[in-house]
Symmetry: C2
Subunit: 232 residues, 2 copies
């Protein structure tokens, strides 16, 4: 029987690839997504499509209202920046940074792990292409794992330790796409854009679209999602 | 001007005392409570009464659905145990343990700290009277603080570190009540019971009622909340 693992899935390119990696490593995925007041709720639809397509044990969408704090372009009405170069993206903390988001998401994953008996948590964070987020750094993930192993019931009852897997951490976007393509990921099901239109078509100009398109170009694979102003 | 601090407030005895301590130390409290599917939602009413009575900068109630995971007497339909001795309470993990609850609550506090610019987070966890919860241990809180300082924007921008204050950590229930009484806490506004009746009267027999009543007895102070079957 496969070991259970919790996989955080946003429906974007990175977490979709991470789910495929967890499955490839023989884990039975319990998938967790969040409805957190994100402006681009189209990603939840993508998460559902991806989970169904890859086949998972269970997919939970947890409601958490991060809008209650404000403070980010992803949950507020702050304008998403477009047409920025990578150099500009890497100056300081991006406006799309949601305070403590990864910490909150991992904490829910930890709760889910305790309930399912999973000892393994997979996150799609990556530190290569886009290093502006403090909670995507390897030292952060290591500290999270240490904390998690003190936080939980299992810590007291002497089970094997919780492991936080971040298999994309040191991969470029192109390498992520190559890995996922090798594992049979259908990237047409994913959604990465911060500002999709009503039909779910990507803007092609926000930071995440720019990095995604560059990744596909470098990987030598066409990006199968639809972009605004580009006929299908 | 007072320094801002985030204070986690459930409306129970411990967190209410913690809020008074934060104020006494000169902090301007930004108070955070959760609607998390708890069976005893009467505690949120208590939290609102307490916040209003003590005077706070702001009180946010965040919606997070922990019921989505199941797995605890506080969020499920599992029966709350009554009439247990302290020895019985301290055997293993109590059924009222909510998986990763403190980790989730502290993570929201961390997000709120980032948004308000607070560097201080107060939690009412205590490790003396009731040691069954893994996420109430000092080593857990220390690991949380380390993680928090790697997680956040401020970590990158070089601000002063986040500090997690747990002023009750080594106090007995009686000492907590003595401290709060000295600081003018009105304990009639609090609610601790896991199984209050429709009028909000405490059961007097669940673990938290037993510990609360013993604490008041030891402190030599009458417990001003109403108990079921006791005329006012």
């Amino acid at each position: 029987m496969s070991k259970p693992a919790i996989v955080l899935l946003s429906g974007g390119l990175d977490s979709t690839t991470t789910l495929a990696i967890a499955k490839d490593q023989g884990f039975a995925p319990y998938v967790l997504s969040f409805r957190y007041g994100q402006r681009h709720s189209v990603e939840l639809t993508a998460a559902q499509r991806v989970a169904e397509h890859q086949g998972v044990e269970r997919h939970i969408i947890a409601d958490i209202d991060l809008r209650v704090f404000g403070g980010s372009a992803l949950t507020d009405d702050i304008e998403v920046l477009k047409g920025r170069t990578e150099a500009e993206m890497n100056e300081g903390i991006p406006s799309s940074y949601v305070p403590a988001r990864n910490t909150i998401f991992l904490s829910f994953a930890l709760a889910y792990a305790e309930v399912t008996g999973a000892r393994d948590i997979f996150t799609g964070v990556t530190a290569v292409d886009y290093s502006g987020y403090p909670d995507c750094r390897p030292e952060y993930l290591a500290a999270y794992e240490t904390m998690a192993n003190l936080a939980t019931k299992s810590a007291v009852e002497g089970e094997s330790p919780i492991k936080v897997h971040a298999p994309l951490l040191r991969l470029s976007k192109a390498d992520i796409i190559r890995t996922g393509t090798r594992l049979g990921v259908d990237y047409s099901l994913t959604s990465s854009c911060y500002d999709p239109d009503d039909e779910g078509r990507a803007c092609g100009q926000c930071d995440t679209c720019v990095l995604r398109l560059k990744g596909f170009t470098e990987a030598g694979v066409p990006d199968p999602v639809r972009y605004q102003g580009v006929s299908a």
